[in-house]
Symmetry: D2
Amino acid sequence: MEQLSQAYLEKTVLQSKPFSADGKVKETVPGINSTVEGSLGLAVCTVDGKEFEAGLTDYRFTLQSISKVINLMIALQDAGPEAVFKQVGMEPTSQLFDSVKGLTELGGHKPFNPFIDEGAIAITSLITGKNSEERFNRIIKLLRKITGNAKLRMNEAAYEEAKRDSSKSYALAYYLESESVIENGKVEEALDLYFRGLSIEVNALELARIGAFFARDGYMNGEDEPLIKPDHISIMKALMLTSGLYNDSGKMAVQAGIPAKSGIGGGIVAAATGIMGIGIFGPALNAGGNSTAGMEALKHLSRNFDLNIFKRSSFNPDKNT
Amino acid sequence: MEQLSQAYLEKTVLQSKPFSADGKVKETVPGINSTVEGSLGLAVCTVDGKEFEAGLTDYRFTLQSISKVINLMIALQDAGPEAVFKQVGMEPTSQLFDSVKGLTELGGHKPFNPFIDEGAIAITSLITGKNSEERFNRIIKLLRKITGNAKLRMNEAAYEEAKRDSSKSYALAYYLESESVIENGKVEEALDLYFRGLSIEVNALELARIGAFFARDGYMNGEDEPLIKPDHISIMKALMLTSGLYNDSGKMAVQAGIPAKSGIGGGIVAAATGIMGIGIFGPALNAGGNSTAGMEALKHLSRNFDLNIFKRSSFNPDKNT
Amino acid sequence: MEQLSQAYLEKTVLQSKPFSADGKVKETVPGINSTVEGSLGLAVCTVDGKEFEAGLTDYRFTLQSISKVINLMIALQDAGPEAVFKQVGMEPTSQLFDSVKGLTELGGHKPFNPFIDEGAIAITSLITGKNSEERFNRIIKLLRKITGNAKLRMNEAAYEEAKRDSSKSYALAYYLESESVIENGKVEEALDLYFRGLSIEVNALELARIGAFFARDGYMNGEDEPLIKPDHISIMKALMLTSGLYNDSGKMAVQAGIPAKSGIGGGIVAAATGIMGIGIFGPALNAGGNSTAGMEALKHLSRNFDLNIFKRSSFNPDKNT
Amino acid sequence: MEQLSQAYLEKTVLQSKPFSADGKVKETVPGINSTVEGSLGLAVCTVDGKEFEAGLTDYRFTLQSISKVINLMIALQDAGPEAVFKQVGMEPTSQLFDSVKGLTELGGHKPFNPFIDEGAIAITSLITGKNSEERFNRIIKLLRKITGNAKLRMNEAAYEEAKRDSSKSYALAYYLESESVIENGKVEEALDLYFRGLSIEVNALELARIGAFFARDGYMNGEDEPLIKPDHISIMKALMLTSGLYNDSGKMAVQAGIPAKSGIGGGIVAAATGIMGIGIFGPALNAGGNSTAGMEALKHLSRNFDLNIFKRSSFNPDKNT
């Protein structure tokens, strides 16, 4: 096995970066343009708090769909799994990241899972708060604690852009209303919270800290009580593995075997339970909306540190010494 | 944590059996009828060879879709992952077990994954052998070794029934031929091997031994060389987790977190890597084609022996003592 | 051939009315409830102005989807066929009246035809006018002239109900916006006009007059210039025949062969070119949203007065004597 | 109105032929290749037997999907409409000519209509005869009489090609078997008759005579009894109008308003009831499988001879003098 180090990460960035040539940036995302298309930032936080980074790890970009896993986390905490999964299913689909098929193929009249757009919109209403702003403040407060960045905030331009380019989200939200998944009259509020979440700005290191928090099953180092129930974190990780990378989820389950969630801002957060969190910024995306260089880096890390949950050794680390 | 024992399994069978009331047997499957509808057999083999069983574990039933994971295993060994995944995808779908939707929604003109019918039919041709009989003999030989039952064989009545009730399989196979996934003129042979696989007869204990073989990453106890490459076994387990239980796959990933594969004969094989294999016979199926009592038993085992791969303790068992 | 008369219509109402037992009223439509479920009103206007009626022909009900053909007529007049069919297609679909499938299966990124909901919403913007109210006034003015009812107006309760129960329409409209079929920011206006149209109140006799206007290819009796270009009327009639009765369109093309348009308020307007217009009020609907008694009456009229455009005699009546 | 004449047809061929540049021949069809790509043959038979032709009207090509309307005709005669429409629906779809969607979207578990492949295969079993050969002989015999060509026959090369390239048809047929639309064990026979029909060889003039036969509602000139019941012919024409030109059906209903059926051999047969039959050979096809030059010629004929069934004058020819 490799030794986790600054040098290792730098080598991995070098080996993975060329894969960004197979992808393209999503220029409609504020802050993302051709100047970062070839970039890759890779950060690792071990569960006991050691941090390593290489490449463009201080570039701030928006969570985009990664916010769906944050929203899910808080919805699970606020409403409990039963209420959450009354609202959305748990089944992976094979749809593209910008599909609206779920619109007409709700599984049992609810979105297939919380990571497709309609599912993500559906669960925002389960987050406690008077309105979308108050709900959002709870999200930001939690993320500030987890990332250690007290200034973590929403990117206003991204929020404005999300509101501007929102027709498809409105279509989904109204369809959910028509199917009584969203309560009558709550479309605007659901979407506002959804758009705010998409617009939260992080860097790769902060993502790695979020991943490490998942890898610690919801515990902050040095605290006795978990911030989020371990049972809820494991639910999230199961969904990340089966559905976190759009229609590359199955392939990455096979090739890396690490629960991960991606966003079209180029981010990927991954969590190797009990071992490490991984944060990636790789804005060149494949047709499926996932970072090409980022997925390559994940495969390296999985192979080199035995992170694949379907492999024996990761379960019996002591046998590998 | 519970102590794994005969008594534990008996208690679990008692607690899970009532869930068979939520399901129904598939009477078209030979050997399956109302007299076994309320039954449940549960067997566990630990990776180091201890065996426990409770309930109806000596009833012989047919693998049905569980054969898909066996075929995949041998196809991976014979042709390698690259060739296999040129033929089929790795993405989970949200389709019902008897759906033919994949027919018209082939992902990139190939079946979404090797566990939907069209995918399973597609990969049979990658198994080495002059004809379907020779190919089948290789499968049986391997399974005899893994299960320790030198008399393991195909149930002739089930094979005849599979051939008789084959219109949908023929439709799928010819569609694959039209899409050049199956080579021209090879439909009959592909289907024959597929039907033979469905008809292999096992009991719950034998299934548990197969699960234990997966849990040992392809090693037989006492042998230095793996029978099947560990890398291939981990591919199979990833696919089992994302797609092994039809449209309950996502739910069971969340609720049990153990790679598993089911068949409409009532069987479930599950593999907790490095820990144990689980074999279940629970012929009462839900609408999705999965054993209702069997899934309940899986949840018990997962909870009581920390088998959920998305939970921390299963990765670092020594830290939890 | 039968003699067109009051007595004939009364007989036809008697024979057709029992078919309302196969349908059910749509109680969410204002003015429609179980007290009219068994009713049938049947009115005929010949192209030269003779009028006959039988049954419940003075009951006022809302146009609902029949307004789609009116909107199409005015859009064709205002923008011309080329502009209209840049916005929507002309192809029949096999979808149910309340399907939102078109949402995700737009043919070439535009609605399949102007009679499915998304198509109907799409063309409202082609009607000339500063805003939806002004546009609506043009529609009402034209309909007042055609029906001879100077007091024709919108049913306010129906309009309110349409706005209240509008989630699905909003979903469709925003999806159209996301596909650039509806211009950015015009969703509200498009829907307002659409809802107003649905809510226009008529009776069966007025519908028959509208049908006769279609049968006269857009001419009012006694006027030299057509109100609407004959070419546009024939376009509308072609679309009515292929798509006017939702997924009963094909069946009624075969069984009656008369261009017709239905609405879930129970109305059907039909036009036998050069012969007569037919207006029907039959609020008991089948699962496809069409009046069961009304379709039966149409078949009677078609058979008895040779109105089937696929039959020889209707084209050359004098050759058949 | 134009005068129907040799000169008129020659002018129309000249005007329409350039539209073949928008299409492409289907080279897999025997006899069809680039040497005929720019060709157009146009023949007209009036209901009283006058014949006109221009362009490539003696080139022999295969019926392909035009055979579906012939099979339907004979099935209606042999089994009656009730039995036919128990087997297939009457609803137009918006699917492409080579779609297999009907496979998974049977309307009420039967093919949507008799002109999509699965519908056409489904009805072959309703044609009386011991086996597919005997059934086929009845078809050929009837077509010889209608076309006046005693030597009309199947093109053997086309039949062989149809059998060779038959995977998709087999897929459809077995799916129909699985849905009990085709009786168990009858797939081979159904397909054999279907393939034979596709392979019948005609020229444009013969197609025009078939069209004239439809235009005469099933009567041969000079005979008192119809060969086929007029009611059945009108059913066929209704289906031709709504579904005869694949997904150009709606457009051509609007733009020409003449019942027509096309085949990928380049043929179109059209029937203006009481007026004329039209036969076209235009092998350059659009993406929808229809002759581009042929559809243009149809529009000319419709406009110049008032053949549009949705226009007033065609119903009242005497009013237009």
